[in-house]
């Protein structure tokens, strides 16, 4: 197959870029793969690309000082916003402007591929509008339908049905998109994100450390986690909580730690370049999110053999964790329940070991080879329908 990915900025670092690059590299083993990046803000992509993957960018971002000099007309077009996109997408002016749109339309007209996979709402809408029908046009969604702005939902209702298929990360998402869009019954398909390639460390599950990871924002519910950990520390003062992440709530969380008397028990560890390495030093992963798009940290924790205690929030954790086997699910927002779940694993090393082994086995479904195989099977099946 000849597969092209359409991505906002393949040179940047970020979750979608990482998963797209991982998938492209993996598919390049057996297929011709190309990445079309709407924007480019530096010389080299942050995530290393397999040399077999072709990469081309539509235009430099307007603020890149090292960009090759463009014509006066190019610069003028780069300042002109795209008017047909919903405002929440159009405001990403480095990605969506008259210059990148023009270059994209020309590229899509001449694109020598069987499949075009677009990777965010604005790009899905662009693919639906501009990609020729000879291509299998597959949209990707990493955001739950209900969490989109009204503008994106309206535009998606109009344009997404032109796409041949949509991949989503969870079963709940699949049902939501399928229900709210006028599309054929098997139009949306669940394909989870893949783990990064390479070896993962294996947690000995011996350190009295609970780990949590993710942006320090309200959606992660770290206020609830700290409240729960105060109950844990009252019973098991030797246990520590390590919170990996950065974000706007850092100072507020620090004050909460002090107010709860967790000065000696909780540390805000900032960002790490080696999350698996840090997860594997812990014995339990705690997930206190109010909402999860997928739960990448959960599968990374599984790959290290670390069991998870999580709120059963919409939508990822409940689909990844098998309650009682590789982790524990507690009702969303239930602080006492979260503390009880953590204490259950803290107090029972044999249960930790058993669940850790089950977590390792569950991680196999998310290995790059397994996820790539699902993509290959899905794309081959959809292409065969058109012949």
């Amino acid at each position: 197959m000849r597969i092209a990915f359409l991505i906002a900025n393949a040179f940047a670092m970020g979750g979608t870029v990482r998963t797209t690059v991982n998938l492209a590299n993996s598919l390049a083993e057996r297929h011709e793969v190309e990445i079309i990046s709407m924007a480019r803000h530096c010389d080299r992509p942050f995530f290393p690309l397999d040399p077999r993957v072709r990469l081309r960018a539509m235009a430099p971002t307007p603020d890149w000082s090292g960009a090759p000099p463009g014509s006066w007309l190019d610069r003028r077009r780069a300042r002109r916003p795209v008017r047909w996109l919903p405002p929440t997408e159009a405001k990403r002016q480095g990605v969506f402007n008259a210059r990148t749109e023009r270059a994209l339309r020309r590229t899509l007209r001449g694109l020598d591929a069987d499949v075009l996979v677009s990777t965010r709402p604005g790009l899905n809408l662009a693919a639906a509008r501009f990609a020729p029908r000879r291509l299998l046009r597959v949209g990707q969604e990493h955001i739950h339908w209900g969490n989109h702005s009204d503008g994106v939902r309206l535009a998606a209702r109009l344009l997404y049905p032109r796409l041949d298929a949509l991949t989503v990360l969870t079963e709940a998402d699949r049902r939501a998109y399928q229900r709210d869009l006028r599309v054929p019954p098997d139009w949306a398909v669940r394909i989870p994100n893949a783990l990064p390639g390479g070896d993962f460390p294996r947690a000995p599950l011996e350190n009295p450390i609970v780990v949590a990871a993710g942006r320090l924002g309200p959606e992660k519910g770290y206020d609830k986690l700290l409240d729960a950990f105060a109950l844990v520390a009252a019973e098991r003062p030797e246990w520590r909580l390590r919170l990996y992440g950065q974000g706007g709530l850092e100072n507020r969380l620090r004050r909460r730690i002090q107010r709860l008397g967790l000065d000696n028990n909780a540390a805000i560890m900032k960002r790490t370049d080696d999350l698996p390495g840090e997860l594997a030093k812990g014995s339990v992963l705690a997930v206190s999110s109010r909402v999860e798009g997928f739960g990448m940290t959960i599968i990374e924790s599984f790959a290290c053999g670390v069991p998870v205690v999580s709120f059963d929030c919409p939508h990822g954790p409940g689909e990844i964790i098998t309650h009682g086997a590789d982790g524990l699910l507690v009702p969303p927002g239930d602080v006492q329940g979260l503390a009880a779940g953590l204490l259950r694993l803290i107090d029972d090393p044999a249960l930790r070991t058993r669940m850790g082994a089950a977590a390792l086995a569950a991680a196999e479904d998310y290995r790059p080879a397994a996820v790539t195989a699902r993509w290959e099977e899905f794309l081959a099946e959809r292409l065969s329908r058109r012949r």
Binding site: P201, N207, R259, D263, I268, M269, G277, E278, K281, C304
Partner: protein, 271 residues
Amino acid sequence: MRARRNRVGPDDVLHLELAEEPPVRPDRLLLRPVPEHGDTGTGLPVPVRLRGTRASADLGGLPAGLWEVCGPDGGGRTAPVRTEDPGLNLADRYGYIARPRSRDLRVLRTPDGRLRVQVAEVRPYAEVELVRSREETVAVRGELAFAARPPGRHRVRIVLRQRHVGTELACGALLDDGAFSAEIPLRPLADAHAEERGKNLWDPVLAGGPLNAELRLASRADDIAGKKQRIGFRPVRLPHGGRTMRITPYYTVHDDLSLAATALDRAEGAR
């Protein structure tokens, strides 16, 4: 070679539990210095003892630095040893610091799975395990690190030295089989506040009794470097001479424990 587990014992012996018996039985490991500032070396051979899947190598003579552990790969060539072990066992670490020593060996795993050993020159210090801000005191608890632990109970002191000023204050502390505890009173810090310096910084050491050197209070046994940015303690607000003194325990950039005292103006004090 691929290790499932690795640890450095109290005797500075590196113990490896290998995933499988190596096809080529090595009689030595090669410790290669990790290039820093363009410095590359050929590496130091270290004899290794192999029993089934268990290997051990005495790293007692390894100079300070960061070393990559290498052994024979499947083809018999020397290659970095891969490891699944994240490299932290807190119980081992607390056991390790319990002995007098001048070098600290730690095992590390790089993000791509290579086994490394970090060797650092160290001096005895007082490892802090708990800091608790109370009404007018700061309680500290911990144990002697890299120092001889005199058996039995002893009266010792915490000496607080005012940085850049030199004023010394002291309070009593207890040393019990190498574990220390103290309640540092904060009023004397407020009384000795040097107005001209704004923020007054106090560096505590453990001294006296059977201790033959001053031991700085610090937290270095675990793997968290840069605690100043990661761990914070509740400040104590102390009414003093018609205003409020704010005294906060904190970790310095070197992970030493210190106290910062600031006189608050009326508006800040009322907050």
